[in-house]
Symmetry: C2
Amino acid sequence: MPKQTKTYIKILEAALPLFAAFGYKGVAMRDIANTVGITAAALYNHFPNKEALYFKALEYAFDAQVAGLAETLAQTQTPRQRLTAFIGFWVETFGSDVILRALLQREMTDADETRLRLLAQHVFQPVYVEIEGFIQSLSARHDSLMLFTSIAGLVMYHFETAPMRKLLPGYHPDQDEHATIIEHVVSLLAQGLNIS
Amino acid sequence: MPKQTKTYIKILEAALPLFAAFGYKGVAMRDIANTVGITAAALYNHFPNKEALYFKALEYAFDAQVAGLAETLAQTQTPRQRLTAFIGFWVETFGSDVILRALLQREMTDADETRLRLLAQHVFQPVYVEIEGFIQSLSARHDSLMLFTSIAGLVMYHFETAPMRKLLPGYHPDQDEHATIIEHVVSLLAQGLNIS
DNA sequence: GTCTATATACCGATAGAC
DNA sequence: GTCTATCGGTATATAGAC
């Protein structure tokens, strides 16, 4: 079982969009093999079984998603600027990567213990520890992890619900624009609804 | 193919928790049949195929989730009370019904056009049209549908991430309590982070 | 309306030649 | 490292007896 060969990477990159679109059980080893241009049997020279292939594909997709966040936050000055930079990071990271987002959603719903740990360690934990100080500086009145969860949901739900929102009254394509989402979320977070 | 018989309902109620836990492809007709106490072949006296069974099960689960929301909102007086009542509705509805929530998440990720329409028509549209006036009254500065999306995500993400958050630093069981979530979300929505 | 038996198809994984 | 061929298992769905 070799590691990091050309074919090995090609397999991962062929498998990821398939798993993202159809889920673990919705993708056959034959499907992945066909996309790569080899037969299913050849896959077993690179991975012991389907589950291992899936696991390595997840690691490959989830790694190194946090690059440059701390630097971006450090460069900005006012709290409002830092908030905008942070929200912008979320929106750009997950808004532009449909595959990453789909995998994330599927992993959170399936809730397998081992894979949840992978998700926590490679995606949420790095982001969270890197910006925990920033989160705390945002508000002393709110619990840090809850605030982190709220901000994440605030951003992600605009993407998660995008296909369905098109069917609701009041929908407008502008609502899917990154700039629109950033402005809306920052404005809502900064001042809330101004209700006493 | 009969309708609404005792067995018909028993099948739907047996299928729902299975689909919620394991997804469409993760549940075999045999599994549903075993839970009901009949054989797989007998299922085809009630549904033409697996897809139709799944579709009817979704309709059955998603119907009538909005009962009493408008009345609750009308009874309260101050904006803050109405906001709390509304958030409370979301948290109680989806927080207490694990099956409904799992189905909802799965349907949003799978993004099949026909089933998304079912989701929009039976879950989000009824809630949205019923409280659109309320949403607008919350803030003239924010787009109604975007605000609806934000509030929904703000609440739902505390549930969606619950299994994974347990693995993050700073986790505490209190953060999963309904009362804690309601208070956090209402406080965040009402005044935001107070950043100018 | 339920049963047993079965047709048909697909999937994960292995054996062995090249 | 890839191929063809195939095994064993499981899935949906149907046929026909009761």
